[in-house]
């Protein structure tokens, strides 16, 4: 087992500095032939930097890489591909308008100006498909394929280049539970064929189920590498990731629904750009409950939230908040109601990164007391409120004059929460509120949502992370292609059932 020739990859004492930050500090990693090796860590722990160096996208400062026992330089992706390393990015690197075949043969190294090897490639892909149980249609245009299929194209792309090691960055992030099962089947097949996989993830149960070895990174350092065994559990792994013991359980009081706060009746909105719009959605949301909205990214989540906030035109149907018909209200009018809105895009929609925390705090109602009047801002009062809320929401920053852009993602989100739900509100619309946050900040968001709910707010919690939805929600809805596939009480919600709904299949 520990025979030298069974070792595919050795990264030794890798260090990488960006300006003053050490992104990777003396990191070593060994991957054996035919193993699935998990790389765990929170956002910013240095996983991506390490992998980008392995794939030649980032140049390392110190350390060496050995491939099958021999030192390799790897200064560019071309070199990585040549030695047999393939990478599947979280955001697929596919040319959407090309066919599957064109995507797969793109970037062939030999014979630069010569004719494309269309037929020969077709045969090779067919052989790969059969061997690994991947069934792909080479003639299809990539943009017409569902995400799961696109991922298969990425896998075939790497196999076509004869990669022996696949780096997969958060491959399950965009999949439904059923698609995850299919992916795991493929990955197991690859392992049987002697391919190695580096599986980057923060989903602990998946890692425990699939992987042979687990390496954990924190703050740019490799904390430890351990073989997977039945003794391991999510809690232990999480404590290694964070560096201390933490409680992953969400404690929830029983739900006492009150009167209706938000109601949508046959609401429709046109799609914009690549989105899918809102198609005939009806729902009711009551005080004191959290309605979790599950769905794969890009299935109308942002359309729905923006429609409720008046950022999109209601094509037909009716939306009522607190008994008022807001169908024709402007966003400003809706904003004057007691509503907290946490938009999906923290960096562009929620905060002005070049503004101080103070101004970001006042930005919703700069012309209203206590922030200011029609003519001027009350800077003193804004500073006082900001400082108070920063303390209350435990925002780590040098002061209220700090630029929002200088804060970590978790602290930025705390600022948004402080502004949006710092005062009591009746309705909260939260879209992907934990995206990119570490475990601590994620739990802070959970606690804030549950506290608001217990104080009588109605919460619409939109997320792509099914685990979160299951942990927080009192009722669960599922979005697919802009349609609400169904709403069910938490007790009746099973992962399998939600997965099918997420994929757009009707469940009786």
């Amino acid at each position: 087992m520990d025979d030298k020739k069974d070792i595919y990859l050795e990264m030794r004492h890798i260090t990488k500095r960006f300006a003053n930050v050490i992104a990777n500090d003396d990191v070593s990693l060994t991957v054996k032939k035919g193993e699935i090796h998990a790389l765990l860590g929170e956002n910013g722990a240095g996983k991506s930097t390490l992998m980008n160096m392995l794939y030649g996208l980032v140049k390392r400062d110190e350390g060496e890489i050995l491939w099958k026992g021999k030192p390799v330089s790897i200064q560019s992706p071309a070199e990585a591909i040549n030695v047999g390393i393939g990478m599947i990015h979280q955001h697929f690197q596919l040319v959407e308008k090309f066919t599957v075949l064109e995507n797969i043969i793109l970037g062939r190294r030999e014979g630069k100006f010569i004719e494309l090897p269309l037929e020969e490639a077709e045969k090779k892909i067919q052989a790969l498909s059969e061997n690994y149980g991947l069934d792909i249609k080479t003639k299809a245009i990539v943009e017409n394929l569902p995400v799961g299929e696109q991922q298969k194209v990425e896998i075939v792309k790497a196999l076509y280049r004869e990669s022996d090691l696949l780096i997969m960055d958060e491959p399950t992030a965009v999949l439904t539970p059923q698609e995850v099962r299919k992916l795991f089947k493929i990955l197991n097949r690859l392992r049987e064929e002697g391919k190695s996989i580096i599986f980057i993830s923060h989903k602990l149960p998946e890692v425990l189920e699939l992987c042979d070895s687990i390496s954990i990174m924190r703050d740019g350092k490799m904390i430890r590498t351990l073989p997977n065994s039945p003794d391991l559990d999510s809690r232990l792994l999480a404590s290694y990731m964070v560096g201390r013991d933490i409680n992953l359980q969400v404690e929830k009081k029983t739900c006492v629904p009150g009167d209706v706060v938000l109601s949508l009746e046959h609401a429709c909105a046109e799609p914009v750009f690549e989105s899918c719009g809102v198609k005939d959605i009806s729902l009711e949301l009551r005080r004191g409950e959290i309605l979790g909205m599950a769905g794969v990214d890009g299935n109308g989540q942002e359309d729905l939230s923006e429609l409720i906030m008046g950022l999109r035109k209601l094509k037909s149907g009716k939306i009522t908040i607190l008994g008022q018909d807001i169908s024709n209200y402007s966003t400003k009018q809706i904003r004057e109601m007691p509503i907290g809105y946490i938009p999906a895009d923290r960096n562009h929609a929620a905060l002005v990164l070049d503004f101080s925390l103070q101004l970001n705090m006042a930005i919703n109602h700069p012309d209203k007391k206590p922030y200011g009047s029609k003519w001027r801002l009350n800077h003193k009062e804004i500073a006082r409120i900001t400082k108070e809320k920063m303390k209350q929401f435990r925002v780590a920053a040098s002061g209220s004059g700090e630029l929002a852009g200088n804060l970590s993602g978790g602290n930025q989100q705390k600022v948004v929460l402080a502004r949006e739900v710092g005062e009591p509100v009746d309705l909260i619309i939260a879209v992907y509120p934990t995206r990119g946050l570490d475990i601590d900040a994620t739990h802070f968001v959970f606690d804030t949502m549950l506290k608001a709910r217990d104080e009588g707010a109605a919460v619409l919690y939109i997320s792509t992370e099914l685990e979160e939805i299951m942990a927080l929600s009192d009722r669960i809805g599922v979005l697919n292609e802009g349609t609400l596939m169904g709403i069910m009480p938490r007790e009746e919600a099973e992962v399998e059932k939600i997965g099918l709904l997420m994929a757009g299949e009707q469940v009786v």
Partner: protein, 307 residues
């Protein structure tokens, strides 16, 4: 309209179209790679000038055309340095190239030949292709033309093949659609784009040379007169496909040629200014139609920064 007039009209349509088609093909190369080809007018102008001057000194059509092509490539190379390496705005930079080339060629012309203007150069004779040119109507339209036009016939399918059937063509299109994807596959975005722009410059250069050497037979100020822009519109209308661009270029050629015919016909009582407008009106209509229907390469106009 009798047959002779029709044949003459068709023949001139082809002749007038060819420079526009060549520019359109050049534009395809640049823009498929994701870089706006705003400087095509400028490449044409410099090449028209350089090829005429070379012709005066060497009296050799082949060398002159080659010199024109090289000058177009050189200026395109400068444009690619600014836009692809330094990340300058592609539209502004392209417009700058056009203005500089217009000024440069006009002043050099005055400087070298004063007010008398550049002397006329020998005609590039039409070469009749036996048998084929005897096909009624189409024969004399397609096969009784100067050599550069035959060259264009051969270039069109070749360019299509390179764009859609060669490895480099696939890479060029990928760089224009999703440069970061190309990057992860080890394709150099910069090299591919620069090569696309310079190839485009070569086609614009050929176009300028054909215009001045075989059609106008001298260099006059602003000789291209918007053909670079027509090429840009034709490429867009043709969906950045060399075949589509050729079709669109032919329509422009037909309009331009009609305008020339109408000017000669003294019987028609319309102001010459209105007649001169015809090709531009056609261009305007094109723009109206392609407003929404064409999806340009996804990364067009965007600088790709390599970290």
């Amino acid at each position: 309209m009798n047959v002779t007039v029709l044949v003459e009209y068709l023949n001139s349509t082809i002749r007038v179209s060819v420079p526009i088609i060549l520019v359109a093909i050049g534009v395809c190369y640049s823009e498929r790679g994701g870089v706006y080809a705003m400087g095509s007018e400028g490449y044409m102008l410099i090449s028209a000038f350089v090829s005429v001057v070379t012709m005066i000194y060497t009296n050799n059509h082949f060398i002159s055309v080659l010199a024109g092509i090289l000058s177009g490539m050189l200026v395109a190379g400068i444009f690619s340095y600014f836009t692809v390496i330094l990340g300058a705005d592609q539209v502004i930079c392209g417009l700058g190239i056009n203005f500089v080339m217009l000024g440069l060629t006009s002043s050099l012309q005055r400087l070298l030949w004063g007010v008398t203007g550049i002397p006329r150069i020998p005609v590039m004779n039409a070469v009749e292709i036996p048998v084929l040119s005897k096909i009624p109507l189409i024969g004399s339209m397609l096969f009784n033309q100067p050599i550069p036009i035959y060259l264009t016939y051969l270039l069109i399918p070749l360019v299509w093949w390179i764009m859609f059937r060669s490895t480099w063509g696939l890479q060029l299109r990928a760089v224009g659609e999703n440069p970061s994807c190309a990057d992860t596959l080890g394709i150099s975005v910069r090299k591919t784009r620069i090569l696309g722009i310079i190839t485009g410059g070569a086609f614009c250069g050929l176009s300028g040379a054909v215009l001045s050497l075989s059609q106008v037979q001298t260099f006059t100020e602003n000789i291209s007169g918007g053909r670079g822009w027509f090429g840009l519109i034709a490429a867009t209308f043709g969906g950045w496909n060399p075949l589509g661009a050729t079709g669109a270029g032919l329509i422009f050629g037909a309009a331009e040629s009609l305008q020339l015919r109408l000017q000669i016909m003294s019987k028609i009582n319309i102001s010459s200014y209105v007649i001169l407008m015809i090709p531009y009106l056609v261009a305007l209509l094109f723009i109206l139609f392609i407003g929404k229907s064409r999806r340009h390469p996804a990364a067009m106009g965007k600088f790709y920064k390599k970290y």
